[in-house]
Every structure is written in structure tokens, then in C-alpha cells.
């Protein structure tokens, strides 16, 4: 299968900047994937997304989206992608419906008409169904200014899906939302993925969100520092381990030595699993244990470990 996004050696140096904001990153996204771009503030996430959505020109590198070259076929790329920006890009003076209509006309879905009543029936039906998804109904004819943050975000997502993009970019879509709105938004995104097989490429600070991704790319200071499935990223960085302790620590440590297991010197002992199952290890220990804890690394552990290493360099 062809990747739907191919990024090769992308570099961006802002004018008057002394270092590259994006410094030679490469990655691929397969059709239908949920792809997460992860990294601290200033890592180059938004810069990358801006380049991929044609609003910023790259210094060098090659990008292909759905087979279209970003430089030479930017028009086709624009028709193929949808984007939710970090800050809401709605016109606050217009109603929700007017914002949607504006988008639909810019993407050539419908001809221009000055009022909702004059639009084709298919459009009206579409808007009504969108309104019910949003739980807005008649509020869809109210100015966006009156909407809550979560509502605006959802409206933006609905708007960006109007032209059925193959790839949806989301730049920190849940930043600034309360936990409830965040969960609701994710449910809706998952539903979109299932229904229309849209490829989703998002940037986020929230590691539990990235945990749901098919593939993760962690960038720092414009460079890729880790790339793969969440499991691969975790596996590359931290080992799973078992935390055990006993009243008779000397006996336990002697026994662990005899078994040839690697473990930390200071109790409670951290025993690396190295591919063995927890059960196997526990079975082989005769010393009565007082503490048994298994530790499965989260993406957050991996992320913090990576960033820790980076800071030491």
C-alpha cells in the first residue's frame, strides 16, 4: 500500500531565525491511520502541520500527500486535506450555518447563494443532519460568538469534513477544552474514522491521546527522536520490570543472583523482565515476598525518558 503522507527530509528555517524550526524530519503515514506528532512546545509540530497544509512554504525537503506533490500540486493537496488549526479559525460574526456555507462554497461543493433558504435541498438536509450531530438544532443560525469552546471545536471539525478530505490534520485539537468536551471530541473523531476511513494526523501534548494512535512520531528541536507504534516507542526506550521485596533481603538478592537475573542493588529490587513472563520469574523465587509490583511503561514514561536524555545532551 502507498503511504498517504510521505515526508522526506523536511527543513524549515524561519526568516531571521538562527536555527531550523524543523530540521530534516521524515515520516510516513498509511491510509486510514491515526498518526500523532508529539513533542514539547517549540518542537516544530505546528510548523510541520502548516507546511503539510500548504499555508507555510518549506525551506527544503519533499512532501507528497495522497500522491500529490506539495509544491507543484498545492491546489490538489488543498482539495484533499482538511485542517483544524490550533486557534479556532471561525468567523465569529457569522452564524454557524454561514461558516459552514462559506466553507462549502470555497471548496466548490455548492454555488454561491446569499441566504440559507436559497441553497439546494441537499445542502439544507446536510446542515440539518450536522446540526443534530452537534446537538445544535436551531442554534446553528446563531452567531458563533455565542458558542462554548467545545462547541466551536466540534463545529470546526464538522466544517472541515464537509468536503470529505482524505486526510484530516488537527493541531492540538483538545488544548483548552475541559475533560468532558475532550472525551466527546475523541468519540466523535473515532466515529469519523470508522465511518469514512479518514486518515487523521494530529499534534498533541496529551500522551494518553497519543496512546490511541497507530503510529507516533516524537520530535524535539525540529528532529525526530522516536518513531513507530506506541508499543515500539515504549519498547525501544524502557524495559518492563518487576518490583519485588522480601523481609529477608539478603536471601532474595542471593537467589536472584543465582537465577542470573539482572536487578537493581537497592531494595525494593527492580528485576528486568527481558522477555520472560512475570509468572516464570515469580515461580522460580523461593524466598517469601512481601512486595510484588509489575510495571508496564506508558507512553508518558517513554516520552519523559526521551526528553530527559535530550536535555542531558
Amino acid at each position: 500500500m502507498q503511504p498517504i503522507i510521505e515526508v522526506e527530509n523536511l527543513v524549515k528555517c524561519y526568516r531571521k531565525a538562527d536555527r531550523n524550526a524543523v530540521d530534516g524530519i521524515s515520516f510516513e503515514v498509511m491510509p486510514g491511520e491515526l498518526f500523532a506528532l508529539l513533542g514539547p512546545n517549540g518542537a516544530g509540530k505546528t510548523t510541520t502541520i502548516s507546511i503539510l497544509t500548504t499555508t507555510l512554504s518549506a525551506t527544503s525537503g519533499r512532501v507528497k500527500i495522497a500522491g500529490f506533490d506539495l509544491d507543484r500540486e498545492s491546489g490538489a493537496v488543498r482539495q484533499t486535506v482538511g485542517i483544524i488549526f490550533q486557534n479556532p479559525s471561525l468567523d465569529m460574526n457569522l452564524t454557524a450555518e454561514e461558516n459552514i456555507r462559506f466553507h462549502a462554497i470555497l471548496y466548490g461543493l455548492y454555488p454561491f447563494r446569499p441566504a440559507f433558504g436559497m441553497m439546494p435541498k441537499s445542502y439544507k438536509d446536510h446542515v440539518h443532519s450536522l446540526a443534530s450531530i452537534l446537538g445544535l438544532d436551531e442554534d446553528i443560525f446563531k452567531p458563533v460568538r455565542t458558542f462554548s469552546g467545545g462547541m466551536k471545536r466540534k463545529l470546526e471539525i464538522i466544517r472541515s469534513l464537509m468536503h470529505r478530505p482524505k486526510v484530516l490534520f488537527l493541531d492540538e485539537p483538545t488544548a483548552g477544552l475541559d475533560p468532558q468536551s475532550r472525551i466527546a471530541l475523541w468519540q466523535y473523531l473515532q466515529q469519523v474514522r470508522q465511518e469514512s476511513k479518514t486518515t487523521i494526523c494530529l499534534t498533541t501534548h496529551y500522551l494518553e491521546e497519543a496512546e490511541q494512535a497507530d503510529r507516533v512520531c516524537i520530535i524535539n528541536r525540529g528532529k525526530v527522536v522516536s518513531y513507530g507504534t506506541p508499543d515500539q516507542v515504549k519498547a525501544n526506550l524502557i524495559d518492563e520490570y518487576l518490583l519485588i521485596d522480601a523481609d529477608d533481603r539478603n536471601r532474595l538478592s542471593a537467589e536472584l543472583k543465582n537465577l542470573g537475573l539482572k536487578f537493581s542493588d537497592v531494595p525494593p529490587f527492580k528485576v528486568g523482565l527481558n522477555g520472560q513472563s512475570t509468572h516464570q520469574i515469580l515461580k522460580s523465587i523461593a524466598t517469601p515476598l512481601t512486595v510484588v509490583q509489575t510495571h508496564l511503561p506508558t507512553l508518558e514514561d517513554a516520552y519523559l525518558a526521551i526528553m530527559g536524555q535530550e536535555d542531558h545532551e
Binding site: S57, L94, H103, G108
Partner: protein, 259 residues
């Protein structure tokens, strides 16, 4: 075809925004009213006899051109606001031509300016400026030309501007001096060289003079009011529009993408 629809949608959005902004609605009509009624009236009564033509009509035509020019120029500069509240990104990622974006904006601000022009014509009629139906038609025609010219002028300015703060200075440094250099309220038939040069550089001069050229055509006052033949003004404005539109769009798009 899609670009035409997009231009219509962009233009309509500007008109809607104008009609929904009550304070802007009121303020755009108050200035022409003060200029024409208060200023025109007082000058007519005190200086009118010595200039040898109707001063109220002179100021009416000047303010008509100035209002349209200013409204279209500052309207285009409001692109800055779209950039600051991130709406411009929605337009820039859409698959329409970059020229369609610029032309849609100019068309929209022209519609807004023309709405103001209509009100000024009605105001003029009410306070007794002698206007024939032919002159109304001519003013409308000239009005469209002024809006397009001023729109491209606004584009050149905004394409070189970074933020709202810079935009706020535009009125003081670019618009206000032109009120006097373009002869909106005062005759500039004879000027010392240090005013003649900046006057000929100011775009508003050609807009004002074209308006008077059409308005006074065939009237006795024509030679004492009009500076150059309408043909000359049309030529200057036409070339200016073409050059500023192409250069402005190029610079605007480049500055937007090459940050």
C-alpha cells in the same frame, strides 16, 4: 466557475460583516455628514462668493470620492484582523486561486464603500446639492472605478504590514495627508512645488479629480474645478490598479507563506 462562486462568497461575507456592525455603520456615515454639511456649509457661506463656484457641490464631490477611496483602502487593510484572529487560515488552505482571495476581498470592500456612496448621494440631494439623474449614474460608475483602484492601493499597503499596530497608523500617515493633497475640501489648482509633487503622488488626487471631471462635465465651472481630463485620470488609475493588484497579490501571498 468555482473561483467566481468563491469571490461572491468572500465579498458577501464582507458586506454581511459591515451590515451587522452597528457602530461601524453609524461612524461611516457620520464623517461624510460632518464634512459635507458642517464644513461645506460654513465654507459656502463665508468663502463661496470669492471662489466663483458653488463650494458645497465642490466639497460634496470631494467627500464622495474621499469616502469611497478611504473605505475601500481601510477595508482591505482589515485583512490584518482576519490574520490576527486566525480566520485567514481557513481561506488560505482552501483550494481557490490566490487571486480569487484578493479579488473577493476587493469586491467585498467595494460593495461596502458603494453602500456608503449611495448614502452620500442621498445626503447631497437632501441638503440641496444640484444633482441630475445622469450625474447619479456617472457618480456610480466613477465610484466603482475608485473602489477598485483604492482596493489595489490597500493591498499594496497591507502586503507590507506586519500587525494591527502598524495598521492603526495608516490613517494618520497615509489617509489624512491625502485629504489636503488631493483637494477634497480645498482647491489645489495652484500649488507650490513642495506640495505639487506629493499631491501628484497621492492616489486619492486622481479619484477626486475623476469624480469632478465626470460630475462637472459640460458645466461652466468645469475649467476652474477640474485639474486634468478624465481620460488622464482613468489612465493613471487603470495602470495603478493593474500594477498594484499584481504586485500586491504576489507580495501578500509571499509574505503569508514565507515567514
Amino acid at each position: 466557475m468555482n473561483n467566481l462562486n468563491a469571490i461572491a462568497a468572500l465579498a458577501y461575507r464582507d458586506l454581511l460583516k459591515f451590515l451587522r456592525d452597528r457602530s461601524r455603520l453609524v461612524s461611516t456615515f457620520i464623517f461624510p455628514f460632518i464634512f459635507i454639511v458642517a464644513m461645506g456649509g460654513s465654507l459656502q457661506y463665508n468663502l463661496g462668493r470669492s471662489v466663483g463656484y458653488d463650494y458645497l457641490t465642490f466639497i460634496f464631490t470631494g467627500v464622495f470620492a474621499q469616502t469611497l477611496f478611504q473605505s475601500a483602502t481601510l477595508g482591505i487593510i482589515s485583512i490584518i484582523d482576519d490574520r490576527e484572529n486566525d480566520f485567514s487560515q481557513e481561506i488560505f488552505v482552501s483550494p481557490i486561486s490566490r487571486y480569487a482571495i484578493v479579488i473577493g476581498k476587493i469586491a467585498g470592500e467595494s460593495l461596502v464603500a458603494m453602500a456608503q456612496g449611495v448614502v452620500i448621494i442621498i445626503l447631497g440631494m437632501i441638503i440641496g446639492v444640484p444633482i441630475s439623474l445622469v450625474q447619479v449614474a456617472l457618480l456610480t460608475l466613477v465610484g466603482v472605478a475608485i473602489c477598485l483602484f483604492a482596493g489595489s492601493f490597500g493591498l499594496i499597503i497591507v502586503s507590507n504590514m506586519k500587525n494591527r499596530r502598524a495598521a492603526d497608523q495608516i490613517f494618520n500617515f497615509v489617509m489624512l495627508p491625502q485629504f489636503f493633497l488631493a483637494g477634497v475640501f480645498s482647491p489645489i489648482k495652484v500649488l507650490p512645488f513642495y506640495l505639487e509633487i506629493p499631491s501628484r503622488i497621492s492616489p486619492m488626487r486622481y479619484a477626486v479629480d475623476l469624480t469632478r471631471g465626470f460630475f462637472y462635465g459640460g458645466h461652466a465651472e468645469y475649467p476652474s474645478v477640474v485639474l486634468s481630463e478624465p481620460g488622464v485620470n482613468v489612465l493613471v488609475m487603470g495602470i495603478g490598479f493593474g500594477v498594484m493588484l499584481v504586485a500586491g497579490t504576489f507580495l501578500f501571498v509571499r509574505n503569508e507563506m514565507n515567514r
